[in-house]
Symmetry: C2
């Protein structure tokens, strides 16, 4: 696989099927662009009706060509594909880039052609890019099959389900300067090569420092997550997932027919896999620029060197919003800064030079040297109008400022720490700004994109370290007790577990389940008191036919003493029978009342795209009304469980409310890991729902638990 | 006032005090820039040591000059100001722009000079811009006192506490093209003219279509809100408030010494006054561009005309995120679109031309005509690569595309509906793009800034209509019963109301307060039953010395029957005495238990910057932990109350939880208006706190109410 993609992106020879002398045809444009861009490989035009195309000898078929061919660019219509691929097979050509539309996206006839094309690709061992792609470029190989102009080489890789999105990156980069691209692939219909494989390619490609993926839908989400986890150990991966909203999904689906999991779920899983998930398309390029250029910092403490209070304040606000830490300068640093800055300067963070660089921009480099040498500082932002001193104050400062730019870049390089510059003169691309960019320093007009770069850089560093250090936990296999419980449920011809069975299974995996007692008859209630004591009890009907136990009058709370238990039992049974005369009533479950605390829920579902996924959230309105939940794919690491807990918007509630104690997060994460083990050990369970679990400072109570087997009878939801 | 500012911004004659022949001096730069920019007025250099400056006759003092002078640009140091202003007074010069720093921001000596300068300004009737400003420009008067290059004329006004921020707007506008500025003022220390006055000026200035304010701190928040309310009836006002976060406030305060109210409060009040509040500096310019160019739409229904599915999806996601409505095209529109677009096109919203414009860009104009004629559509977005068809596909399309740009602008103009274009070719500033911009159509590279423009435009239209239609409600004066209650509290030498007094005052303003009964002794409890009936009661100790009644054991709930009431009474009194033996215990308040519902809180505080302000939020953790609250200044309108309720993040909870009924929002808003009347009628009340109020479908219960008088003894918090 990797070898085929490698030959496609780095082709030394290209055959163009459907080459043409008509300048309006793609088969002409592609050859023109390849030659205009100085492509150094061999181009073979294929056109049975011509002997010569644009001065090159034309061939009837690839099979006529003597030399090796790395890739075929197919410009002919969909229906020609099977035979073109057969010819490629005969020539042992590893890859074909197929522009034609008219496959599955157009209906049944197209789907048939798609099927035949895929079969031809497989039997001929040819990997297909597309179809319905606008092509591939590798600017480090001067190979531009897309025909797009103005693409500057650099280190951002693009893999996109939208050609216009690539155009937007290319034109915006042209305007900004200092940023460019390694390779691009338009994935089209992903008939053959899928997103995970492209990601592996970009992961291995030395010219790509930061791959960017514009994704409308994942076809094999699990494989993509695995690729992402591997590649992010080497380089950051930036993902924009379009169709985040319901209306957006409708729009995307009419575009590509892609299925979509909920965005909140997708985002959680991508984060877990180490990806940098961007939610606004206008932020992608600046984040990619920052991540492709800057070294990975050791920590996240940011120092600001500003030449104006306004932008310093804006930057601080943006850093706080983004959750980035402001460095506390060491005393020595403050003292050294006082030595080079005027008296009015602020020598704490943010440092404000108070005009101290207006007459001599090199003071900026002196300050940067002091700041970057400070062990309390991981990242430096230069903020304000650096690069515009000569332009604004005195043209005679230009040499000084250009030299300072070189020094700034060298100082950052020496310390191995990220340096990022925000300058109001960046839009005018003054010489000192351009020198910074050439030296690999990202420069932005506004503080916010610079801050976003830093936030994502710090996030990437943390995710990479987390995934390297915190292994995903996979069980050895099911425990015997668990297997027995599942056999019993399955043997009873039920999909749904009784609550006591679900709790027993949780207990088999080490979950601390409160004492429980199943009374099959009123007389068995004495046993409940014997087992559980005299404390107030919760009583719940056990019936596979009654899902909403409260609505059915099937729940009694705070019941104390045998007499009351008996009375409650009778009422519960009577209510349940009244609610559903045909219900199969298995008994009444008795358990001590849970003490009060914070309600949470933990669930496991099987996502059609991504497989088993854990969900976490606070209970009640937080899940039901505010949808404040976090997701991770299973298996997951302990660190993942920790992040799930911290990620929800209402997580502060877990830290204690109205002076109360915080909940025991260790115990919570422990519980999540045990549920995850259970789910992995028994993949035949479709759904697990612990709702609610009550968390306290001294532990938790699983108040209710529901599990459903993968359906034999029911339809899956 | 307005007249003085008018003469400053539109000066026909400028005296430069401290004019110089030294090119490094501001008194030289300013004259150079004025002449380079083609300033048509008269320039009078003032310098007692020169006879001629840059070829102009120099004067010893303004008093020597014969003609009228509109403004003096003062380039001399702080200490010269009082005498310079005395000279201005002799010449009846209305305004002085003072560059010098060294006033209050530098300490006690500077503060003294500031005081003398202000006194001189007042006695001479001279309005002072600054000091510590980088100046003023009016590009429609070719008057640039700032000396900044590259500023393009246009219709955005800038009023900024940061000179660098203005530079950022100017350089970014230069890069983008098609957007420019009317006037700028750097407000500096606001020694004399304040933000409210500048806002009035920009409101009256015909060249300014959208004033932008970069604010670090308001000096007279109330006056600014009133100015904002007036000006926004004429044009949108865009405000960026820096120092939004606590760390940002520290940074801003070290910069200008400005005091700051909480950002959440400031934002709520500015919104109420009709302002467009922007929270990221990099978004300001695009929003200002959109608001300065586009007509105010009649509604908020957006249609998308896209030439690529990718950007259409991104746009839909962004619109949904921003809460903007997608138009539902009329059947006739869909039918007409089918007539001009290929079969594969999507003729619902988003419209996707599916290649239908590639060969003939004029099809875009035909579609725009169809869409803008649809009464279901208020706003049109053209999305994708319009403006790049010639560049991308065929240079021969250029004339067609340029003409289409003219047609698009004309169609939008004809229908009086906003048209906004997102094009990936915008960054390359192709001719069709530039033609659109010249015709007043905003064009952006990315969908998100275009969507933000629309969201803010729709928000502005709504706010303007709201403030025009929904008057702020002011009471005629205090009701007699209220005055009596206040007199009693004040006469008892207390700041804090007893709960029953607070509830009685609420009742005097029409608030539906549950029956209550103050028992001063155990024997009076029988009266409680007589008055309130036999229902379960809540009992609370009444003591000005016990603030946290529950902590003191001073609350008993669900108490039923006289015997239980008596027992509870004794316990409450005993607990209170044990808690604080010196407490002045006034009795026990008895009231029926509130029925369950959604807890909310309503508060009124006196903000030092903005005066009386109402706060609203859900009770408990939503206020205490999640800080999810909304604010409006009093007096407010019924529409303001409605928006406060809708604005909180957890507002969905009010619409019903777990299938329950929604709360009665009418009753809630009614309650808010009554509390607002109470607060306005009795400005001597410092703080009002209804916490909690329990809302239900059939009304509300004020469970607890607290009020505090403006302090005679205690220090204010």
């Amino acid at each position: 696989m990797s070898d085929a993609l490698n030959r496609i992106f780095n082709a030394q020879s290209i055959a163009v099927v459907g080459a043409s002398n008509d300048p309006a045809k793609r088969g002409n444009q592609a050859i023109r662009r390849l030659r205009a861009d100085g492509y150094k490989g061999v181009i073979y035009p294929i056109n049975p009706k011509a002997t010569e195309i644009m001065g090159l000898k034309a061939f009837t078929s690839v099979t006529e060509i003597e030399g090796d061919i790395d890739v075929v660019l197919v410009c002919t219509p969909a229906k020609t594909l099977p035979s073109v691929l057969d010819q490629c097979g005969q020539k042992n050509i590893p890859g074909a880039v197929v522009l034609a539309a008219g496959f599955s996206e157009t209906g049944a006839a197209g789907a048939e052609i798609a099927k035949e094309t895929l079969a031809a690709a497989r039997r001929n061992n040819v990997r297909v890019v597309g179809p319905n792609t606008n092509g591939v470029f590798n600017l480090h190989n001067n190979m531009n099959m897309v025909g797009v102009q103005d693409a500057d080489p650099g280190n951002i890789g693009i893999c996109s389900q939208s050609g216009n999105m690539m155009l937007a990156f290319v034109t915006e980069a042209k305007r900004r300067g200092g940023v460019g691209f390694s390779s691009y692939v338009g994935v089209g219909n992903q008939l053959d090569v899928n997103l995970a494989e492209y990601l592996q390619y970009f992961g291995d490609d030395a010219d790509t420092k930061a791959p960017v993926f514009y994704v409308e839908g994942f076809q094999d989400g699990r494989a993509f997550l695995e690729a992402c986890r591997q590649v992010t150990q080497k380089k950051p991966v930036i993902i924009y997932k379009s169709g985040r909203t319901e209306a957006g999904q409708v729009a995307a689906s009419s575009h590509t027919g892609s299925l979509a999991s909920s965005f909140a779920l997708t985002r959680g899983l991508l984060k877990q896999a180490g990806a940098t998930v961007v939610e606004q398309s206008d932020k992608i390029l600046s984040i990619a620029e920052g991540l492709s250029k800057l070294p990975v910092p050791k920590g996240g403490r940011v120092a600001i060197l500003a030449d104006g209070g306004g932008h310093a304040t804006v930057t601080v606000d943006a850093l706080v919003d983004a959750g980035v830490e402001l460095a506390i300068l060491s005393a020595g640093t403050t003292q050294k800064l006082r030595g080079v800055l005027p008296a009015a300067a602020s020598c704490v963070n943010p440092v404000d030079v108070a005009g101290g660089t207006d007459d001599d921009p090199s003071v900026s480099a002196a300050c940067a040297e002091i700041l970057l040498a400070d062990e309390n500082i991981d990242i430096l932002m230069v903020i304000g109008m650096y690069g515009g001193f000569a332009a604004r104050f005195n043209p005679a400062l230009l040499d000084n400022e250009v030299e300072t730019s070189q020094r700034l870049a060298a100082i950052a390089e020496k310390h191995g720490k990220p340096l990022i510059v925000q300058s109001v003169y960046s839009a005018l691309r003054t010489k000192p700004i351009e020198v910074l960019k050439e030296a690999g320093v990202p420069v932005f007009v506004w503080p916010e994109p610079a801050v976003r770069c830093i936030a994502e850089l710090v996030g990437y560093a943390q995710a990479r370290a987390r995934n390297a250090a915190s292994p995903r936990v996979v069980p050895d296999g099911p425990v015997a007790e668990g297997t027995a419980i599942l056999a019993k449920v399955a043997g009873s011809n039920r999909d749904a577990f009784y609550e006591h069975e679900a709790k027993a299974l949780l207990s088999a995996y080490g979950v601390n389940v409160p004492g429980q007692y199943l009374a099959r008859s009123e007389d068995e209630l004495a046993g409940a008191i014997g087992t559980l004591g005299e404390a107030p009890m919760a009583m719940k009907v056990v019936s596979q036919d009654i899902l909403h136990k409260s609505d059915a009058g099937g729940v009694k709370l705070k019941v104390t003493g045998e007499r009351a238990l008996r009375e409650a039992y009778r009422e519960i049974i009577a209510n349940a029978r009244a609610y559903d005369p045909d219900a199969d009533i298995h008994g009444v479950l008795v358990a001590p009342m849970a003490r009060s605390g914070v309600e949470i829920i933990i669930g496991v579902v099987h996502d059609p795209m991504f497989g088993p996924v854990m969900m976490f959230g606070l209970g009640g309105i937080f899940v039901e009304v505010l949808k404040d939940v976090s997701f991770r794919a299973l298996p997951m690491s302990r660190a993942d469980a920790h992040e799930m807990v911290e990620e929800i918007q209402s997580s502060k509630i877990l830290d204690g409310v109205r002076g109360g104690l915080p909940v025991n997060k260790e115990a919570l994460e422990d519980l999540m890991m045990k549920v995850s083990q259970l789910a992995l050990a028994h993949p035949e369970i479709k759904e697990i729902d612990l709702n609610p679990v009550i968390l306290r400072n001294d532990g938790y109570d699983v108040v209710d638990a529901r599990m459903i087997l993968k359906s034999k009878g029911h339809t899956s939801d």
